[in-house]
C-alpha cells in the first residue's frame, strides 16, 4: 500500500539540477534491456505531456499565483524530461529509436488492455494495439532494407514482429476516431491512469514521427513515417477522447502528477538497471513534491480536498513484460474490427460507402507506403518477420508462400 498523499517528497525549491546532472551518460544501445529502454521512452513521453499540459493550463489562466506555481513545476518537469531523454545514445538512429517506440506501444498497450477493468476502454486499447503491432512490422522491414539489420537485435524477441491490422486499412474518417469518455465520478482510478499514460505515450510517438520522418533521404522511409505519423494522430484523438472533459484544470493537474508518481513508483520496483532504478526513485521523490503543490492548488482554488478525488493507495503497478500470446488472441479475434462513430463493428457491417471507406480510398489512391515497404522487401530477398510462437494466427496475414 503506497499512498502518495502520505509522502511530502522533495521540496519543489530543492529540485533544480545543474547541466552536469542533466547531461547524463547515455545507455549502450546493444546491451540495454529492451524494457529498460521502453521505460525510458515512456517516461520521456509522460514528462513531455506534463510540460504540454502545464503550458495549456497556463494559457487558460490569468491568476499570477497559479501561473507562478505552474511555471516552477513545469521547469522541473522540463529538467526531468532532459534527464530521461538524454539517456538515449547518439549512435541510436531514429529508425532504431522508432522500433523501440513501437515495442513500447505494443507491450504497454497490451499490458494496459489486459489489466483494464472497463470493457469499453479495454476494447479501445485492443483496437489500437493491433494497429501499433502492424507498425513495428513495417518499420522492421524498413530497418532491414536500409540498414541491413534485423529488428530482433533491438527487441530481443520479447515481442513478435508480423502483420497486425494492415496500416493501409487503419485510415479512418476523423469522426470514426472519436470515442465515448469515462465519467469522472464512476471511473475506476486505474482506468484513468491507463488512459493518461496511453495518451502521453501515443502523443510522444506522434511527435517523434512527425518530426523525424523528414530526416531520411530514402523516399520509402519518408513515405512510411508520413503515413504512420497520421495513424498516431488518429490514436491520440482516440485515446484523449476517452478522458472526461468535465474535470477542472486543477483536477487534471492533480491527476497528471498522481500518474507520474504511479509510473515512477511502478518502474522503480521492476527496473533491473541500477542506475535507472536510482533515477526513477529520484523522480518519484520529486513528483511527490510536485503532487503536493498541485493538491494545494486544488484545495485553494477548487475547494476540493485531494482525498476526495484520489484513491486511498496506488493501484496495481504497470509493468513491461511479454504479451505474445495475448496479442495473438486479439489478432485472431479482432483483426476485422472497425469503428463506426464511437462504436466497434465488423468490417462486414461497415459498407463500402461508409465515410471511413471513402476516406481510406482517398488517402490511399496514389499508393500506400506501408504496403510499398513490404513489396520492396519481398523483391529484395524476402520480407522480415519474427513469428516466434508459430504461424500467424490470421490465415490471410501469413506469408504468401506458407499459406
Amino acid at each position: 500500500m503506497f499512498n502518495p498523499l502520505d509522502h511530502t517528497g522533495m521540496e519543489i525549491d530543492d529540485q533544480l539540477r545543474n547541466w552536469k546532472e542533466l547531461n547524463v551518460e547515455p545507455y549502450d544501445k546493444m546491451s540495454i534491456h529492451p524494457y529498460s529502454r521502453s521505460r525510458i521512452i515512456l517516461m520521456n513521453g509522460i514528462e513531455v505531456e506534463s510540460i504540454l499540459f502545464s503550458h495549456q493550463f497556463a494559457r487558460h489562466t490569468d491568476n499570477p499565483d497559479v501561473k507562478a506555481k505552474l511555471a516552477l513545476s513545469r521547469r522541473i518537469e522540463a529538467q526531468q524530461q532532459k534527464a530521461i531523454n538524454w539517456l538515449s545514445p547518439g549512435d541510436e538512429t531514429p529508425l532504431e529509436t522508432t522500433i523501440g517506440y513501437e515495442q513500447v506501444a505494443i507491450d504497454l498497450t497490451a499490458w494496459l488492455a489486459r489489466n483494464e477493468p472497463d470493457p469499453y476502454i479495454k476494447q479501445t486499447f485492443e483496437f489500437g494495439l493491433l494497429e501499433d503491432f502492424d507498425h513495428l512490422y513495417r518499420y522492421a522491414n524498413l530497418y532491414e532494407l536500409i540498414n541491413g539489420a534485423r529488428a530482433e537485435q533491438l527487441t530481443q524477441d520479447l515481442t513478435e514482429i508480423m502483420p497486425g491490422r494492415p496500416t493501409a486499412v487503419e485510415h479512418r474518417n476523423p469522426v470514426d476516431d472519436l470515442r465515448r469518455h469515462y465519467d469522472r465520478h464512476t471511473v475506476d482510478p486505474l482506468s484513468r491512469l491507463h488512459v493518461l499514460t496511453l495518451v502521453a505515450g501515443e502523443q510522444q510517438t506522434m511527435n517523434y514521427y512527425m518530426n523525424h520522418g523528414p530526416d531520411f533521404i530514402e523516399p520509402i522511409a519518408r513515405g512510411l513515417y508520413l503515413e504512420i505519423a497520421e495513424i498516431e494522430e488518429q490514436h491520440v484523438t482516440q485515446y484523449e477522447s476517452l478522458m472526461d472533459p468535465l474535470e477542472s484544470w486543477f483536477e487534471q493537474l492533480v491527476h497528471h502528477e498522481y500518474n507520474e508518481c504511479y509510473l515512477y513508483h511502478s518502474f522503480m520496483e521492476e527496473e533491473t538497471d541500477d542506475r535507472l532504478k536510482r533515477l526513477w526513485e529520484l523522480h518519484l521523490d520529486m513528483e511527490l513534491g510536485q503532487l503536493q503543490v498541485a493538491c494545494e492548488l486544488l484545495r485553494t482554488y477548487n475547494g476540493i480536498d485531494p482525498e476526495e478525488i484520489l484513491p486511498p493507495a496506488l493501484p496495481q503497478p504497470t509493468k513491461f513484460q511479454e504479451n505474445k500470446e495475448y496479442v495473438r488472441d486479439v489478432l485472431a479475434s479482432q483483426i476485422d474490427l472497425r469503428t463506426d462513430g464511437t462504436d466497434y463493428v465488423s468490417v462486414d457491417d461497415l459498407g463500402n460507402d461508409h465515410r471511413s471507406m471513402e476516406y481510406m480510398r482517398r488517402v490511399n489512391e496514389g499508393g500506400v507506403p506501408t504496403e510499398d515497404v513490404i513489396d520492396q522487401a519481398r523483391n529484395d530477398g524476402g520480407e522480415y518477420r519474427r513469428e516466434l510462437l508459430g504461424p500467424h494466427p490470421v490465415e490471410s496475414l501469413r506469408q504468401p508462400e506458407t499459406v
Binding site: H60, N63, P119, H185, P189, G303
Partner: protein, 233 residues
C-alpha cells in the same frame, strides 16, 4: 475537510448516455430509478435525476464556499462564507438523507448532476482563474457574484421541493421531504437574501463614491454596511 465528492471509491454510480460511458458495475439500473418514492405519484426517474442534480449543486456549494472563504481579504465576508459553508455541508447531509429515505442512492450522479458539476466548476474557475485581470475589490465582487448566482439556483431548488411537497399525497415521501424543507428553506432564504443585499450595497457604495475606491478605503465602510446587510427575519 469533509469528503463529499462521489467517486468510484465512495461507490458512485452513473448512467451511460450520449458520449458518457459508465462501466457496467457502476451503472445505475433504470429499474432502481423507477423504484423511487412509490407512494408519491411522481415520475420516479425524473425525480431521481433531479434530486441527484440538487445534491450536486449543494456539493459544489461546499467547494465554492471553501474557495471564497480562503480567498477573500475581507474578514466579515470570510466569517459569513464560513458560516454558510457549515450550513451548506449540513444541506448536503440532509439531501443525502432524503434521497436515502425515498429509496434512492445518494451516490448516484445523474446526467443532470454532471451538468450541474460542470456549470459550478466553470463558475469557480471563472472567478479564480481571472484574478490577474482585476484589483482586489473587483475580485471580491466577482466572488460575491458567484455566491449570489449559486445561492439563487440553490434557493430555486429548495423552493421547488417546497412546492412539490404541497402537491404530494400524505405518506413517507411527503413527510421526508417536508422535514428537510423545514430544516433548510429558511437558511436558503437567508443565504440568497444576504448575497443579494450585500452585493447591492457594496456595488451602490462604489457607485456613489466620487473616486474609484481602493480596498483600503473601502474596507471600513463596507464592513459597517455589510454587518447590517441582512435584516434578521
Amino acid at each position: 475537510m469533509t469528503i463529499i465528492t462521489p467517486t468510484r471509491t465512495s461507490g458512485a454510480r452513473g448512467m451511460s448516455i450520449n458520449m458518457t460511458e459508465v462501466p457496467p458495475e457502476a451503472t445505475m439500473p433504470p429499474t432502481e430509478l423507477q423504484a423511487l418514492a412509490p407512494d408519491a405519484g411522481v415520475n420516479p426517474a425524473f425525480v431521481s435525476d433531479l434530486l441527484s442534480a440538487f445534491l450536486a449543486h449543494e456539493q459544489c456549494g461546499v467547494h465554492l464556499y471553501r474557495t471564497v472563504a480562503g480567498a477573500t481579504a475581507n474578514p466579515m465576508l470570510e466569517a459569513k462564507y464560513r458560516d454558510f459553508l457549515g450550513d451548506t455541508e449540513r444541506h448536503v447531509e440532509i439531501l443525502t438523507r432524503v434521497i436515502t429515505q425515498l429509496g434512492g442512492d445518494p451516490q448516484y450522479v445523474s446526467p443532470s448532476a454532471r451538468l450541474v458539476h460542470a456549470m459550478n466548476t466553470h463558475l469557480i474557475q471563472g472567478v479564480v482563474l481571472a484574478a490577474g485581470s482585476a484589483d482586489e475589490l473587483p475580485r471580491e465582487m466577482a466572488m460575491l457574484e458567484a455566491v449570489l448566482l449559486a445561492e439563487t439556483k440553490d434557493h430555486a431548488d429548495w423552493s421547488f421541493l417546497s412546492a412539490l411537497c404541497d402537491d404530494l399525497p400524505d405518506g413517507p415521501t411527503r413527510e421526508a421531504l417536508s422535514t428537510a424543507v423545514e430544516e433548510v428553506e429558511s437558511e436558503e432564504d437567508e443565504h440568497v437574501e444576504w448575497a443579494r443585499k450585500t452585493w447591492q450595497r457594496m456595488t451602490m457604495m462604489q457607485a456613489k463614491s466620487s473616486t474609484m475606491m481602493k480596498v483600503t478605503d473601502f474596507a471600513e465602510k463596507a464592513f459597517a454596511t455589510v454587518k447590517n446587510a441582512v435584516t434578521p427575519s
